[in-house]
Amino acid sequence: MPEITLVEAVTLALARAMAEDKEVVLLGEDIGVDGGVFRATDGLLARFGAERVFDTPLAEAMIAGLSVGLAAQGFRPVAEIQFTGFIYPIIDQILNHASRLRTRTRGRLTCPLVVRSPYGGGIRAIEHHSESPEALFAHIPGLRVVIPSSPRRAYGLLLAAIRDPDPVMFLEPTRLYRSAREEVEDTGEPLPLDRAFVLREGGDITFVGWGAMLKETLLAADRLEADGIGAEVIDAATLKPFDTETLFASVQKTGRCVIVHEAALTGGFGGEIAARLAEGALTSLLAPVARVAGWDTVIPGLRVERHYMPGENRILEAARKTLAFA
């Protein structure tokens, strides 16, 4: 089996879902003829036809609202928003409509909508093309937030998201699109939408992160290991609902936790995780919970980006401080 990239895994899952269920439709800007900015929908127009893979006019709020209408009729729309920087106009439809359809109708209507969007920084693509708004979405009741960090998880989680009856924000780390590769078997097997993944086991410190930050975190874990320190690395993957259980089990073992995300620190999802630890795992903690995050500034231009993104060294520094806490 050949290795494929994360973006190819997305295409594979989309094709699988479309082949299984003809009410799965794809829509978005430049996703048809062009195959999407990152080619995530490449070849799907030719395979499934213009009725099921369609280019929309440039109007994000409409894309979201139209998808809610389709979903209310039982379709499973998968809408692409070209970059997360262009996602803000859809918040009204997602927050006020998509996420509330089930509640408002007491379950008689649901909104099996997936919004996919290239997410995060690290490709020197400057603002609008590098943002991490996961916390905004995680704040919306009734909306799932999923961020895959490997081709296999992208495949399994996307399939699950499409089959799930409720709306899902599926944020795809652009930095990993082509750099993450592994073998992915097209089994149609989904992954659970409410479990974190333990990427590496260790007994001395817990790292929790998601998306492209895991790459840096795993590097930091390697460096700690060289010093004889065992780091456990957890991929939160489904921020909403967040798998507190897996995290608590890890922290009970290690007593120390560093949260890593590239979104700005203040109001970031790391704050939520820290609060859960304070509420439910305080007695296991041997040191204050640390957060390594983007700064509270706009994601900067290309030549300064590396000073913005949390990297291996910043993560390591936070880990050492946490480990040194007596």
Partner: protein, 335 residues
């Protein structure tokens, strides 16, 4: 009274042009063309990162419009803004350095290609969010009306942007308040990889304000004189308190949408035909030669401009990287 579909009737170049005017347009268009060619090269060499949308092919629009404006008029556009910035008179050195993310850039390397600003020259920015500049431009016009300063706001947008909801919302507001705004739709036939006929129910766009009584006109945007003449009439209309007006400039971008473009949505032949038959710079050159200019004189002008651009590129490459501390400046007012 029923809204007029056509507000201004312009025969291309009806107002005529003296040779020195033509020469000025040629210079300004060449400056943009050579700048963009060089930007494309620097991008290819990895000196410009992020996104970079070239204006090659559309030069007549901004040069013609700019020549119809008065000092103090406001200008705002999208991310395809290098031509607009240069036409507003900002030093090519600063623009190139900004593209390269260097300290010598117009925004100290923090803005990049899409977000160029020059409030000093009433240029209110390139904007990366498609369509977002349209209500902002309408707000600039609101300010001019409120202050009764006799100025107008020129708001550029693309054929893709026209379908954003906030554009329709702005047209209504501008008509309701009779705001002094000229909306210039640069219809280059594609929004990224989607052609106008696949994005809009009608492929001509000048009528988009008609429901609100906004007059509109379609213009050959490859002809700088046609652009200037319609620009003059439109500016007069907006300045006189009659409210907004829409100019649809039919134009063409030669290069890809940005520097990565699969180019699956159009044919090589289409691009070649537009280049060889409609090029805005060739048209002005031809007019100048017909009115007696010498070939050598025009070539010398081109050479002079290439020199300026080489200098700008050198400046940009030599300019230092921004101080990492700049990350934290200009977020809030400094205490």
């Amino acid at each position: 009274m029923a809204p007029r579909e056509k507000a201004v009737r312009v025969e291309a170049g009806a107002l005529g042009a003296k040779s020195e005017e033509l020469l000025r347009y040629l210079r300004e268009m060449l400056l943009i063309r050579r700048f963009e060619e060089r930007a494309g090269q620097l991008y290819g060499r990895g000196l410009i990162g992020g996104y970079c949308h070239l204006y090659i092919g559309q030069e007549a629009v901004v040069v013609g419009m700019q020549s119809a404006l008065r000092d103090g008029d406001s200008v705002i556009t999208s991310y395809r803004d290098h031509g607009h910035v240069l036409a507003c008179g900002i030093d090519p050195k600063e623009v190139m350095a900004e593209l390269c993310g260097r300290r010598g850039g117009a925004s100290h390397g923090k803005g990049g290609s899409m977000h160029m600003f020059s409030p000093e020259r009433n240029f209110y920015g390139g904007h990366g969010i498609v369509g977002a500049q349209v209500p902002i431009g309408t707000g600039l016009a609101f300010a001019h009306r409120y202050r009764e300063d006799g100025r107008i706001a020129v708001t550029y947008l693309g054929d893709g942007a026209i379908n954003q909801g906030q554009v329709a919302e702005s047209f209504n507001m501008a008509a309701l308040w009779k705001l002094p705004v000229v909306y210039v739709i640069e219809n280059n036939r594609y929004g990224m990889g989607t052609s106008v006929d696949r994005a809009s129910a009608r492929t001509d766009l000048y009528h988009r304000g008609m429901a609100h009584g906004i007059p509109g006109e379609q213009i050959d945007g490859m002809d700088v004189l046609a652009v200037r003449d319609s620009g003059l009439l439109a500016a007069k209309h907006a300045r006189s308190g009659e409210g907004p007006i829409i100019l649809e400039m039919v134009t063409y971008r030669y290069r890809g949408h940005s520097m990565s473009d699969p180019a699956k949505y159009r044919t090589r032949e289409e691009v070649d035909r537009m280049r060889s038959e409609h090029d805005p710079i060739d048209q002005v050159r031809r007019r100048l030669l017909e009115s007696g200019a010498r070939e050598a004189e025009l070539d010398a002008l081109d050479k002079e401009i290439r020199g300026l651009i080489a200098e700008a590129a050198g400046f940009a490459q030599d300019s230092p990287e921004p101080d990492p501390e700049e990350l934290f400046t200009d977020v809030f007012v400094e205490a």
